[in-house]
């Protein structure tokens, strides 16, 4: 559905369901250069199982208008405001990659708004290499290629999508190609310059699950594992044979981890 939020047309995927304040809610936040469609299977599952399930397009992404926000903190505030605008209670919040940083910050800033937090493809700090950042700044297709290749386990190029007949890497590539000029750079730079992770983690009291691919080349698991100890209540769900793009690479394993984490 589309709403006007902060003066901008804002798209929120609900799988066609109306939101019901009486239901528990889950919210999914996409990563850099992406949009809501990375979450479709999961939104449809939760929506059909008694939840308000939403996956917004962050400002400037997908079907949401406006310029992309340039910091993780601004994205987190935007997200919390959106949850207010939608009159949702405390949500189970899941974020992928850049979305995981947004989720982390939002859970810290809006402690009463997040009842459970799932951080997928998470790393902190989320430093972005100069070649990728430079290519993104120049809107060079090389940025799309680097994110497509490094954003999955090597085997993803071979394939084996659990949704029959789909190409893991080519879908990711098309999504990134569809990002408006400047958006990928804004997102990557927001990740690169984010320094609030430790402080945010210290504030979070809800249960946190890090859902990680053991072959993640964008946000290697060692750093995420170490960071997990900063949360009051954290666990790690490791997906074997999976890179950074677990929603495409291992949707069934991701589904199970998300249900375990977000179900109220």
């Amino acid at each position: 559905m589309e709403i006007v939020y902060q003066g901008q047309t804002t798209y929120v995927q609900t799988a066609g369901y109306d939101l019901d304040p009486a239901k528990p809610s889950v919210c999914f936040v996409h990563g850099a250069g992406m949009d809501h469609a990375v979450w479709t299977l999961f939104v449809r599952y939760f929506a059909r199982n008694g939840y308000n399930a939403i996956a917004p397009d962050l400002r400037g992404h997908g079907r949401s208008a406006g310029a992309a926000l340039t910091s993780i903190e601004a994205c987190a505030q935007w997200l919390l405001g959106l949850l207010d605008a939608l009159a949702l209670g405390a949500v189970g919040l899941a974020g992928h990659s850049m979305g995981s940083l947004v989720g982390l910050q939002a859970a810290a800033d809006g402690a009463d708004r997040v009842r459970a937090l799932a951080l997928l493809g998470f790393g902190y700090p989320m430093a972005v290499g100069a070649p990728l950042l430079d290519a993104a700044r120049a809107d060079d297709h090389a940025a799309v290629d680097m994110m497509t290749i490094w954003g999955h386990d090597f085997g993803a190029q071979i394939g084996g999508h659990q949704v029959p007949g789909l190409s893991i890497t080519n879908i990711t590539k098309r999504r990134l190609e569809a990002a408006r000029p400047g958006v990928i750079y804004a997102d990557l730079n927001a990740c690169h310059t984010y320094t609030g992770g430790e402080a945010a983690a210290a504030k979070i009291q809800c249960p946190v699950t890090l859902i990680l691919g053991d072959r993640d080349r964008m946000t290697p698991v060692r750093g995420a594992r170490e960071f997990a100890s900063r949360f009051a209540h954290a666990s790690v769900e490791m997906i074997p044979g999976c890179g950074h793009g677990m929603m495409e690479e291992k949707p069934e394993q991701t589904h199970r981890a998300l249900v375990k984490t977000l179900a109220s």
Partner: protein
């Protein structure tokens, strides 16, 4: 690019879509000869039926062996996904049926495989779908034929039998300016010679029966989605941009983004029309795909040598092969197909219908049959077979002369093929 690189075409031909079977370690793709799949529990079953979980339900919709073939084709064509079908015609039908309905209009090149021509000219009109046939060598003719109810442009990469080469980029630009997708039948070129999606096409269809299978043993087809067409912006496809009560309340563009079209082809097209590929045929077609780049190089080398030789023969009036400098599309072919112009072409024999019959009967290495794209060389004389009922005037209207012979050049020693043709040419003129 200062960074990683994608796997190359030859590697993808061998590996894409399949990793060693996790249950058994089988290196070759297992044949999952099953109709259906046991659900782990009720919740997973419900999720699969609701398109809220990933996996298999019923082999009419998807099968693991077939999926390997589909992913491999998507990888080789640069598409976001593919759906394999029971035949090439089934692929064309489902590719089109996903987009059209009664009252729709298609603009197509008139240089078409006969089966496709029949579909457009005779069968689809019974369902209220009209097609305008235009000159593939004149991209502007596509633009001129587009109407408010036009749903797609359709063409083949290389026409048969005259070898017209389509300027895919030019026609794709025309299609997109009008907000309609371009569907390309790339059967005769295969992704080894041309990748239409990279040139701007939105959907590619194949008869896998031909060069991709490559051995004349299995019928199959495929639809591959480029994933770039903007269904929302087009405004011509309400079925792609609204929640569909007949399809689990899916809004394909909204829910699947770049995979919107191919998901609808599978979830509606295979579910409702049912022209799915058997896993056994998928296995055979996969064996062909593994050697596609190697075979296409040899096919093209042989075809080029034979076309060049035929052009020097006194019994031959004309050779229509885009690899020859005197072909009207030679320059375009060099640009679009630098690795070769394929291996199906025609020539015109002096002496008309009678000479054609003598020529066919004298061949000993070429096989006389109605197919193309086999590893073995094939030949057919339309005036005495597929078009035998037509007189000379009617043949001319169909663009076929009485002495026209179509060749599909195989992988034999080129000199053996030339010797066989030389014997037959000699016999044809007696």
């Amino acid at each position: 690019m200062s960074g990683p690189r994608y796997l190359g075409f030859d590697t993808l031909s061998l590996h894409a879509g399949q990793r060693p079977d996790p249950a058994t370690g089988s290196r070759a793709t297992p044949i999952y000869q099953t109709t259906s799949y046991v659900f782990d529990d009720a919740a997973r079953a419900a999720g699969l039926f609701a398109v809220a979980r990933a996996g298999y339900v019923y082999s009419r919709i998807a099968n693991p062996t077939v999926s390997v073939l589909e992913e491999r084709l998507a990888a080789l064509e640069g598409g976001v996904g593919a759906v394999a079908t029971a035949s090439g015609m089934a692929a064309i039908h489902v590719a089109i049926a996903t987009l059209v309905g009664a009252g729709s209009h298609i603009v197509s090149s008139r240089a078409l495989y006969g089966g496709t021509h029949n579909l457009f000219a005779y069968t689809l009109p019974r369902f209220g779908v009209e097609t305008s046939l235009v000159d593939p060598r004149d991209p502007a003719s596509f633009a001129a034929a587009i109407r408010p109810n036009t749903k797609l442009l359709f063409a083949e990469t290389v026409g048969n039998p005259r070898g017209e080469v389509l300027d895919v980029e030019a026609v794709a630009n025309i299609a997109h300016a009008a907000g309609v997708p371009l569907i390309i039948d790339a059967t005769l070129t295969t992704p080894a010679l041309m990748q239409p999606i990279a040139l701007g096409a939105d959907v590619v269809v194949h008869s896998l029966t031909k060069f991709i299978g490559g051995h004349g043993i299995a019928i199959g087809g495929a639809v591959i989605d480029g994933g770039r067409f903007d269904w929302e912006a087009s405004g011509r496809f309400p079925q792609m941009i609204a929640r569909d009560p007949g399809l689990n309340e899916l809004d394909f563009a909204e829910d699947f983004g770049p995979a919107a079209y191919i998901m609808r082809v599978r979830l509606e097209g295979l579910r409702d029309f049912g022209a799915s590929l058997s896993p056994h045929n998928a296995f055979h077609l996969l064996q062909g795909l593994e050697t596609l780049p190697l075979r296409m190089r040899r096919h093209c080398d042989n075809a080029q040598a034979i076309a060049r030789w035929l052009a020097t023969q006194p019994a031959v009036e004309q050779v229509s092969y885009a690899g020859l400098p005197n072909h009207p599309d030679h320059a375009l072919a060099q640009r679009l197909m630098p690795k070769g112009c394929g291996a199906v072409f025609s020539f015109v024999l002096k002496g008309g219908r009678a000479a054609g019959r003598k020529f066919i009967d004298a061949l000993q290495v070429f096989s006389h049959l109605a197919n193309v794209g086999d590893a073995k060389s094939l030949v057919i004389h339309p005036a005495s077979t597929t078009h035998a009922r037509l007189d000379a005037e009617a043949l001319a209207r169909a663009g076929i002369s009485e002495g026209l012979v179509r060749l599909s050049i195989g992988l034999e020693d080129a000199q053996d093929l030339i010797d066989d043709l030389a014997r037959a040419l000699n016999a044809s003129q007696k």
